[in-house]
């Protein structure tokens, strides 16, 4: 049992207390943007923000979340980090970062957490912040470019524009 907030909404979870946050999000709240990759905090695909800090949802038992505020990829553009999140998403699209895309929710969440604290990270700081996020497609080079580009846009006076309405690949409805 735990009461906490996900993307601003209160959640009163009554399932097993050891259930990792990842599976609460995916199996109970239908928030499928947070991904399962390893189950042991090795790959970062499940990165969410808990109290603003990047957190691996796959090893975070729901019992530890009492009263905490969780933000997922679905909610990150509607939080205090909205400006950073929009800048990151816009840079990701502009730099054509994604490939299979499976790890990218986690990459975006990790990058938002980094740029929220430091809009001009060095390469070493990017390595530190992003090394826990594995991408098997090897998008790292463009992730690095996009982080720098998003940071530069955040330092500018104008807020980053929302991603342009690019043509969409229609997602499959199950």
């Amino acid at each position: 049992m735990a009461k906490f907030h996900v993307n601003g909404e209160q959640v009163d979870f009554r399932g097993a207390a050891d259930t990792p946050l990842l599976w609460v999000l995916r199996d109970y709240l239908a928030l499928n943007g947070t991904k399962y990759g390893c189950g042991m905090a090795q790959c970062g695909a499940c990165t969410v923000h808990v109290g603003g800090e990047p957190t691996r949802a796959c090893v975070t038992p729901v019992s530890t979340l009492e009263g905490k505020r969780v933000v997922t990829i679905e909610g990150v553009t509607a939080t205090s980090q909205a400006r950073v999140a929009r800048a990151v998403q816009a840079a990701w699209i502009d730099k054509d970062v994604v490939q299979c895309g499976y790890c990218q929710s986690g990459q975006v969440m990790a990058a938002v957490a980094l740029l929220g604290k430091n809009a001009a990270p060095t390469d070493a700081q990017i390595d530190d912040a992003m090394n826990g996020n594995i991408c098997r497609c090897g998008t790292y080079q463009r992730v690095r470019e996009a982080i720098k580009s998003a940071g530069a846009s955040l330092k500018g006076a104008a807020p980053a524009a929302a991603p342009k309405a690019a043509p969409k690949a229609a997602p499959k409805k199950a």
């Binding site: 097993a16 090394n131 098997r136 090897g138 499959k172």
Partner: protein
């Protein structure tokens, strides 16, 4: 492509909601490995293109999207001829259907770096046919001749006197017209979309969490299933005790399968806890003593005995009498694909049919296999292709392992099931890139010229024991074991390539770049050893052996020049070069490497690449960065090993993969040329391991003859 003339065009019977729909039907091909039945469905239509009343052009992508960008590059082919507004193009993954068969391989599949080239004529033709029909519809409406109308490449048909109609306004009328048999395709000089750097159209969904992968499928009453697989390949369940499993809240079924014991639950966590509580006694079977040590000895011994001939040229006996010979023994390990999205498959039985959702590279294999496992006629089974979080060959399994397992469970429990493999199940689950041992002997004459090459390869056959064996194995040679050696591009007068095919009990499979993943490493490092023995520069040594290969020479020279080959580097750094032709494309890479206290560090990789006509330069660059990262990951860290029959690795802590801090700066230089595209996804992978190894050889003077580099003691 040869199949063009054999293609029959059929006008789709369905014109959904005024939509113009174009479909193909491909005739049954001789020598097809699998009979993939036509699936009768009402929606979406068996088609490649639908133009809605709002002008939206939806392209049905017959290939799996798993990173390589087909949901952008294939619509580009259609749009180029269609003359539509690119911002109105959408992509949707096509379900399983015979209409979506690969134009060269005869069944629906994604592999062999072939998605773009096999669609090249097909999808441009679709676009041209649709454009012609839209123009005809406008001409009919305006009562003018077809020759008097044209398109503006922004989604409008233009006619005399300033007449103008949008594609969306014409779609319904166009759908009633016959599909033109013959259409003229644009010459390359008129391309406005093909060849232009084009951003992926699937980015927005992939940066906001909305993209739906197989693992994200949701259905009413969907159960999650984890399967306890045998700890040793080939082991069988002797008995199991599920008493404690049933105490886990949420667990609904425990069922025995031929592949293990399945725990079915209301959610993942209950299934996981249930499986953890399961006690299974296994009959370990014939592989209980399997070990990497044992395989190393077995393979090594075999490499010193005569194998089956894969290629013979000149007089191999002359090798023994050469002025100088070098002999080297190589070993590369089993490798897991480890795609980010673990394997999964969702199956729902519905009355007398079933629906399946899976990110499959092999719909043409998986669909009939699933139908068989479900005991249903294939016409009653719908297989929906989901986005896949990587694959690298793992989702192209001739024996459909995880798909038929999910079907077997669905049949037994009669509730909708999503079978999920944990990362541990994936790493330990087999279907690896095989382990190989190579023994190479090269001969040099007194002037340092390469005169002979004897090459023995020992390892498992990827296609052996699968339905592909009959088609691909000739005279006992699996071509995937010897590709890159049997057809070595270097001009060597005396050549002798042999193969020992070994059954190990370990399931094996194609892994990005297949045979080239090991032969590229061996050939290209051996060439550097030979160059050093001859006292020659590695680039010059290769150049002299490639006089009849202008395409390879071009990428070799381009990589060398862009990398500054021969210029000074900071102390402690060296360059290595490698050149591999695979999947119809030529790739040379120069790696700049240093040796740090914790091992090799790759700083920069210069890639020169010729993939014929480039459809989307942004995608090609991304795929080369990706291929370098994938190959480098394996070169540095990748290995699956066995002890007491069991896989010793389990997750990313003991099967490490490349991370951000290890990613070199990759610079891509494309040689444009040719009038057709060739392979892109895989050819960038083989050169990176030998390029890095050759740099280390240059740095230390010590040849690298095994992978991963993590296993080498550098001090």
């Amino acid at each position: 492509m040869k199949t063009v003339n054999r293609r029959q065009f059929l006008k789709s019977s369905a014109a959904l909601g005024g939509a113009l729909v174009i479909g193909f039907w491909l005739p049954e091909r001789a020598g097809r490995a699998f009979a993939q039945p036509q699936v009768q469905r009402t929606a979406p239509p068996n088609a490649f293109l639908r133009i809605g009343k709002d002008g939206t052009c939806t392209v049905f992508v017959k290939h799996l999207e798993f990173g390589q960008g087909v949901t952008t590059s294939l619509p580009m082919l259609v749009a180029e001829e269609l003359g539509c507004d690119w911002t109105k193009v959408r992509a949707e993954l096509a379900d399983a259907g015979a209409v979506y068969a690969h134009t060269a391989y005869g069944m629906q599949m994604t592999g062999g770096s072939s998605s773009v080239w096999n669609s090249w004529d097909q999808l441009r033709t679709v676009g041209a046919q649709a454009r012609t029909m839209l123009m005809q519809a406008a001409a009919d409406q305006w009562k003018v001749k077809l020759a008097d109308v044209r398109v503006d490449n922004k989604g409008f048909v233009l006619g005399p006197g300033g007449k103008k109609l949008a594609y969306g306004q014409l779609a319904e009328a166009a759908a009633k017209l016959p599909v033109p048999e013959k259409v003229e395709l644009k010459p390359a000089k008129d391309f406005t979309i093909i060849g232009k750097p084009t951003r992926r159209i699937d980015s927005p969904e992939k940066v906001n969490g909305k993209a739906m992968f197989g693992l994200d499928v949701q259905r009413k009453d969907l159960h999650t299933v984890l399967v306890a697989h045998p700890p040793v390949f080939g082991a069988k369940v002797a008995k199991f005790n599920a008493d404690k499993v049933k105490e886990v809240p949420g667990v609904t079924h425990v069922v025995e399968l031929t592949s293990g014991v399945a725990v079915v639950a209301r959610n993942f966590w209950a299934a996981k806890k249930g499986r953890d509580a399961l006690q299974v006694d296994w009959d370990l079977g014939p592989n209980a003593n399997l070990s990497t040590e044992g395989l190393r000895k077995q393979f090594g011994d075999l490499a010193r005995t005569p194998g089956k001939s894969a290629k013979k040229a000149g007089d191999p006996a002359a090798i023994a009498g050469a002025a100088r010979t070098l002999v080297a023994d190589y070993e590369v390990p089993f490798l897991a694909h480890a795609p980010m999205e673990p394997l999964n498959c969702t199956v729902e039985m519905q009355g007398d049919g079933a629906e399946i959702w899976v990110g499959s590279q092999f719909q043409g294999v998986d669909h009939p296999a699933a139908a068989k496992a479900l005991g249903l006629d294939p016409s009653k089974v719908k297989l929906h292709t989901m986005l896949a979080g990587g694959g690298f060959g793992r989702r192209a399994n001739p024996v459909s392992d995880y798909v038929i397992e999910a079907c077997a469970i669905a049949v037994k429990v009669k509730v909708p099931v999503k079978v999920v493999w944990t990362r541990e199940d994936d790493i330990k689950g087999g279907f690896y890139r095989p382990m190989y041992v190579h023994r190479v002997e090269v001969a040099l004459d007194a002037g340092g010229k390469l005169t002979g090459w004897r090459h023995a390869i020992v390892g498992p056959s990827i296609v052996g024991g699968t339905p592909f064996e009959a088609m691909m194995v000739k005279d006992g040679i699996d071509p995937t074991s010897v590709e890159g050696v049997a057809d070595i591009p270097y001009e060597i007068p005396n050549l002798d390539v042999t193969l020992h095919t070994v059954s190990t009990g370990v399931p094996v499979l194609w892994w990005r770049s297949v045979g080239h993943s090991h032969t590229g490493f061996v050939v290209e490092t051996m060439i550097d050893e030979a160059a050093k023995a001859a006292g020659k520069d590695p680039v010059e040594f290769r150049r002299a052996l490639l006089t009849r290969h202008p395409r390879l020479l071009k990428v070799l020279d381009l990589a060398a020049s862009k990398a500054g080959w021969g210029t000074a580097l900071p102390a402690g750094r060296a360059r290595g070069i490698a050149l591999v032709e695979s999947f119809g494309s030529a790739c040379a890479q120069v790696a700049e490497v240093s040796l740090e206290k914790d091992g090799p560090k790759v700083h920069r990789v210069v890639v020169a690449f010729d993939c014929g006509l480039v459809v989307n330069p942004l995608t090609v660059e991304a795929q080369l960065q990706s291929a370098v990262a994938f190959g480098l990951s394996a070169a540095l860290h990748g290995k699956i090993t066995f002890k007491d029959g069991q896989v010793e690795q389990s997750n990313f802590h003991d099967y490490p993969v490349l991370r951000m801090s290890e990613m070199p700066k990759v610079e891509v230089h494309l040689v444009s040329g040719g009038d057709k595209p060739t392979g892109v996804g895989e050819p960038g992978t083989p050169p990176i391991a030998p390029a890095v190894a050759n740099a280390l050889f240059a740095l230390t003077g010590k040849p690298i003859r095994m992978l991963p580099l993590d296993d080498i003691k550098w001090a």
